[in-house]
Symmetry: C2
Subunit: 212 residues, 2 copies
């Protein structure tokens, strides 16, 4: 298990770049559909329309594919959230608006490919290299949230760092549960709105918005 996880060779020709991307794309699909154990390297290669030998020319082992996917996931997620984070930093929005934006963005992020997300974040055993890359997201999210909350005077909590961690954890937990176990009888948007209200009341108990 303690093996190199980076691609074995740098693609020199456009052809190989395509092969590499095909494998990654197929990996995302197969991990998404069958989970970690069910995603065999032969299946991924077949799905990519590529021989098993080619797969192992670009990835030293199965876990390396997961790590590459995690990197892509982190990168795409960061790019997706970048404008939001920048806007928050430049001009911290009121807590109510900010929470709605935040929850909405998180739901979007999860709805994309929930199963792959779960394989990445929760299925085990997870290589250490993967763990490290995934922790980055959460830490950045907590820091950004804390910075934002610190710029808002309407926030009334004892420990802003703890509050930021709890906000991130709550959004993560609720959206996760929502996407993985969708409930009949309620629309996802209902959950998202109610989660934003929940966090608003926690962070700003003086901003009392009474129930319908």
């Amino acid at each position: 298990m303690a093996q190199p996880l980076n691609p074995l060779k740098e693609p020199k020709q456009a052809r190989s770049r395509e092969t590499y991307e095909a494998i990654l794309g197929a990996g995302a699909q197969v991990f998404e559909r069958r989970g970690y154990a069910g995603a065999t390297t032969n299946r991924i290669a077949e799905r990519a329309g590529v021989s098993i030998g080619s797969l192992y020319q670009y990835f030293p082992n199965k876990d390396a594919i997961l790590v590459a996917l995690a990197e892509r996931h982190v990168r795409q997620g960061s790019e997706h959230l970048a404008p939001l984070v920048a806007a928050f930093a430049a001009n911290p929005p009121p807590v109510r608006e900010g929470l709605e934006l935040l929850v909405g963005a998180m739901v979007e992020l999860h709805a994309d490919s929930p199963r792959l997300h779960r394989v990445l974040f929760e299925e085990c055993p997870r290589p250490a290299a993967l763990q490290e890359r995934l922790d980055v997201i959460q830490r950045i999210a907590v820091e950004a949230t804390e910075a934002w909350l610190s710029g808002r005077t309407e926030v009334d909590v004892a420990d802003r760092h703890l509050a930021a961690e709890l906000v991130v954890q709550t959004v993560e937990g609720v959206t996760h549960g929502l996407v993985i176990h969708p409930r009949p009888g309620h629309k996802p948007t209902d959950y998202a709105a109610e989660t934003a209200l929940l966090l608003l009341r926690y962070l700003c108990p003086s901003v009392w918005r009474s129930a319908g």
Copy 2:
């Protein structure tokens, strides 16, 4: 995979009952330590101090062990929560006290064997029989919470059923994240207390307990 999941034979002698229990106990340990894929039937049998043949005399396949564990988990969890639920029903406590009891009980439940809990609830593919048994807990929790909240006048939310689902999901999500990814710098009790405060402010925004 679509195979019978119940034990093959009823134990007639005390000896076999012990074997059965040893296998279940070993299964809990091995699933806890190595996850679904890493828990091989041979390993479970070895851990139980029992031959692989004996294992397959009581469980038709690997998944059947998981299902039996889920059943035991549900039963033990229910027994553990029964006095709390009964007390809530007989004399609904104020929201603040109730939340602290609830969060505390959930943390206890998760802290027991978090990895097994994760294997049971999240690792895939999950046999349908297992899924059904697990959904029971959540439904019961939501119903009990809703009933409790309906008996309290200080609760101020638009939709009590939605609120109950959100409360359960939040407690579940936070305790889950807390147990699985313990954070340095904060004690678990800090999280539990803050989570109770979060939910209190959500459910009862008029009960303003200021920070610090």
